[in-house]
């Protein structure tokens, strides 16, 4: 736990160089990303006009050796860092507390905050953005989604480009890596172990594989682009645990790929959204986003869809994005009592209308035309059907259905299960898109 215990007194103003031509940054957290921020700042990043100086870092354990050695003063008391009146606070603690309390305090004192913490923004966004608006203090979070790709801030300054109506994306590198490995024939446990070995997955990978991380990032994006405050747990969220390597094989046979998708649409006023693995046609721009790559497609822009892709995580990419945010936060004019805080409305996203990717498994299965008849009688129309696959002594068949609502697919598949004595597993399928 963090303590409010004693520590070296840190005063950024006192420590500032005579020239005052440095940005004094207080670091909340000195884990992987925090250390990368400190190292990059200590290297006095090439190309930066204004060097960044780390006034100190909030850590849990003052005595643990750090890669930054004694070049970054440590403290276990976050308030001490704020009392030093840094130019910017960088929050890289992760999790909700004490991040929330300290960020609120910084904003309350008018100290700009840069964070990469999507959990914090997704869960406490209303409170944080209101606090930022009250004191007209920048709160920047470019690294919270697609950590290595600058695109969020761009749209806050460009009202016409920001008049969007939908988005979809691959925003979790861990699950994208796992599904990419599985599409090369690896079993799920092997692919997960490989992701952990390479540092792409945490020892406890739950947040990634259950879709929590993706849903939180979607909530951040919905506030940013749709001006909706959405609780991440109200977004339909599916993990990748139910998929097997054969699903990925068959997705390719059926002309697409399975990707960990987030998608939302707010055309008109109604918001729909989901986070979970989905079939995407090979022609879809997200079909080729492989490995730890991330991407966002923004729909409804004046001339057509926009695609932004690149590294979604990694300490160095994240740290560089955070430091660029620091530069922007200090150069940016005082925001007008922010637009978003006023325009943002609470919303519970509906389940969207999408296609479906379905796996039927049983001792025997009806022939494909009979399955199609069973489904079409309940208003579900098939787009593609794979050949029957008799491996493992059980019959398995994969189907791609045209868009319909979730209630209808559930009812139709319940009927198939009863009639054909088989299991049905289904995930969403995205329409083809140029």
């Amino acid at each position: 736990m963090f303590t409010v215990a004693p520590a070296t007194r840190i005063d950024a103003r006192a420590a500032r160089t005579p020239a005052q031509d440095q940005i004094a940054v207080a670091l909340l957290g000195l884990g992987q990303v925090g250390s990368a921020v400190a190292r990059l700042a200590l290297e006095s990043c090439p190309g930066m006009q204004l060097p960044v100086r780390i006034t100190g870092a909030l850590v849990r354990d003052l005595h643990r050796p750090r890669p930054t050695g004694n070049r970054v003063p440590l403290t276990a008391a976050g308030d001490e860092l704020l009392d030093g009146a840094p130019d910017v606070v960088v929050e890289v603690l992760g999790g909700l507390e004490p991040a929330r309390t300290l960020v609120l305090r910084a904003l309350g004192r008018g100290i700009p905050v840069v964070t990469a913490n999507k959990s914090l923004l997704a869960v406490h966004g209303d409170e944080l953005f209101t606090a930022a608006a009250e004191t007209r203090t920048p709160l920047r979070y470019e690294a919270a989604v697609l950590a290595g790709v600058p695109f969020l801030g761009t749209f806050t300054r460009r009202p016409l480009a920001a008049s969007l109506a939908s988005l979809c994306g691959v925003v979790n590198g861990t699950t994208n890596f796992i599904l990419t490995e599985m599409s090369a024939g690896r079993a799920y446990p092997d692919a997960l172990a490989e992701a952990q070995r390479r540092g792409f997955a945490e020892p406890d990978p739950s947040n990634d594989v259950l879709g929590v991380d993706a849903a939180q990032k979607l909530a951040v994006l919905l506030r940013h682009f749709a001006h909706c405050s959405v609780k991440p747990e109200q977004i339909e969220t599916t993990g990748i645990g139910g998929l097997c390597a054969r699903d990925l094989d068959q997705a390719a046979v059926l002309g697409g790929a399975l990707k960990p998708i987030i998608a939302a649409d707010w055309t008109g006023h109604d918001l729909s959204a989901f986070a979970g693995p989905a079939f995407v046609a090979a022609s879809h721009s997200l079909a080729r986003i492989d490995g730890v790559q991330n991407a966002i497609v923004l729909g409804g822009a004046p001339g057509g869809d926009l695609l932004f892709a690149g590294p979604g995580a990694g300490p160095v990419a994240t740290a560089a994005t955070i430091l660029d945010d620091v530069v922007e936060a200090t150069e940016q004019p005082k925001p007008q009592k922010t637009v978003e805080a006023h325009r943002t409305r609470g919303a519970v996203p509906a389940a969207p209308l999408t296609g479906w990717f379905i796996r039927l498994t049983g001792n025997t299965l009806p022939v494909a035309p009979d399955v199609a008849d069973l489904l079409s009688a309940r208003g579900v129309w098939l787009r593609r059907v794979s050949d029957d696959d008799g491996r493992d002594g059980r019959a398995t068949r994969w189907l791609v259905a045209h868009p319909c609502d979730r209630g209808r697919i559930e009812a139709a598949l319940a009927a198939v299960r009863t009639a054909a004595a088989c299991d049905a597993h289904w995930i969403r399928a995205l329409e083809e898109r140029a």
Copy 2:
């Protein structure tokens, strides 16, 4: 021609509303893009805090009917518009003069300028950016490259993200559309006619099909990202006229596609660059950029390559980008005596080291191993070879060679031509890229 002739006197200050809460914009040009800017401004764009008011438009012909009717005051005298002291000047005349003179005058008076004119920036960039730096006046050009995709301005504010080392892209929608049509089997003249019919190509398509437009955009990008001032005519530039539909077929057979590419590398200090059609492997992020879509891949970013893709042209997309630039130009703090003007150095790009896509045609051709021997004796190594194609009564074979410099491929192919009495046509080929 434009005249300095009489016209209605236009004074933005006098015409301004009491509340002064509008951005007064003088439009230089009222063609396709200018009209779209005016229409979008008259619609008082949704989502914009500050409405834009068009103080007047510079036109050649005062008497031609305009889609904006009498809602936009017309003048044939650019100086009158500047005398009205607008908040921002939008230059959408195209071409070099009088655009250059008027933009210089606006900057000289400290009036921010927004332009989409890549010819102007490519040819007169040194002069224009120096003038902007002298008076610390914004000169914005987000719509000059990838007109519908906001990405250029993002990097001017983010020094670490902007520490790049290379770029490649598809930045000309006209030729990308033509090559995409040709890859579906259409002959070049048909594909060009279709592009003209749809408004993607000018009646005189030379600038696009000869690669001039792409080379100019590359010059703009090199100033922006590599801080190099490059004359577009010093960039190796190839048109698409030498390609036939069978080249596009065979590119697919050889595992890739032909795309109108720009590419540059400034790793270390040496700059290399080219603009022209090139073979790209199917795994390359640009291989799937089809039709009028445009894309840029930026290399050397902290966490890996960044991809930005979307509409590259079109009056509505361009107009929206221009108006967003207008908003940014008025909100942006006075630039520091701009970084770029100081850091920019003149450079003549070298011819890059790339692979090659080669077509050999003759009455008879040596067998593939003999061609490979002829080339490898001169240091050119083949990666892939297509089957002999005997259509049209002539033998044709396509080859993809590993990277080597241009002098070497030229010498090697000269030797093949002599030895085998055949014609050789070659374009560049890009290495595969994740």
